[in-house]
Assembly symmetry: C2
Homo-oligomer: 212 residues x 2
């Protein structure tokens, strides 16, 4: 008889929590499925019924890691809010979540980054999805007249480039004291004011250029 | 009788080249001064005459690493060139040097980053010096009317924040294909056009805001 779906979900959650605990204790993701089975008091063959291999486990852990960030992004895309604020919130809210996690347990955070590096094909999907959400906000900004003369793809990658300290989790760890909300606001404003096609290098300061 | 200065310099250079070779071969900086002495066919006690410990060796290697970058920065600060171009060149020339080194031998590059992490007090001085050079270019830009309403310290750290993909060597390695000269030019222009105090969030697009 198949197990009820809720039991399976609960057991998977319990296994993921145990994996989390092992990573937390060892400060590393180098554990085997057998280690995990032992830690949870389950036979390896039983464990494999819930996760067919460590890849599947990593995928489920990534899903959990990104779940909260997803809700934030989805809410914002459809929010009734000026696009300037929307773009700021898109980074600020996720920054707050990631910073909170990192401050709570820097070692665990670092291990999750390592897990992500080892399973980049899983992470890649989430990164692309975040780009997709961001692109829809940037399109809204373009409709309002921002980023004159640029194609959307170009805007997406340039914004990503300038926003690295606020969205790349490894860099955030290094730059924690610099990647504040106040600076984020200024960087967003700089991008909104300044990012456009390279027709003239400094049209933002015309009155001064005439005077000099 | 003391050795002539030129002999000392030549021997130090030879020792540093051997250390470089060891790092290149092992892909790691975990060698001892005894390993180094063996590699170069020198007694440890003789080696210690040239470098009193591995810290002193790391310091000399950092000096060598930064020498070319220093010449670039010094030349630019006093160059007769519009400040917009100067700011672009400040990053573009160093980007080209670092990218060249990384492409030539990514493993050695990575090991040098590791060496820098282990001897951060040495690196810190070079980072501060680069900030000092950059600040003098930013002052020139402020005199021309850029970065209205901001203090120099604020401008330095905001520019550093947005320029990470073009100056942080680890991030450069990850973002090699994104941190191109073309994008650098656009980011520099965005900063020049858009970076100013947060009086109004989007004054760069006044005509469109009136229309919308």
């Amino acid at each position: 008889m198949p197990r009820p779906e809720t039991d399976i979900t609960a057991t998977r959650a319990k296994i993921m929590a145990a994996a989390d605990q092992i990573i937390h204790e060892r400060g590393s993701i180098s554990f085997t499925m057998t280690d995990l089975a032992t830690a949870i008091g389950m036979s390896p063959s039983n464990l494999y019924r819930f996760f067919e291999n460590k890849d599947a486990l990593a995928e489920a852990m990534a899903e959990q890691w990104f779940a909260e960030l997803h809700v934030i992004m989805e809410d914002l895309v459809s929010a009734d809010m000026p696009v300037e604020e929307k773009l700021y919130q898109f980074f600020a809210r996720r920054l707050a979540v990631k910073r909170g996690r990192c401050e709570e347990d820097p070692g665990l955070f670092e291990s999750y980054m390592e897990l992500g590096d080892e399973h980049f094909e899983v992470i890649k999907g989430y990164v692309d999805l975040a780009d997709h959400y961001m692109a829809s906000i940037l399109v809204e900004a373009m409709e309002k007249g921002y980023f004159k003369g640029l194609e959307l793809d170009n805007v997406v990658s340039l914004v990503n480039t300038m926003m690295q300290p606020f969205c790349n989790p490894r860099l955030m760890m290094q730059m924690m004291h610099l990647a504040t909300e106040e600076r984020l606001r200024m960087v967003i404003n700089t991008i909104l004011k300044g990012l456009q096609a390279n027709d003239s290098p400094a049209t933002g300061q015309p009155e001064l250029h005439i005077a000099s």
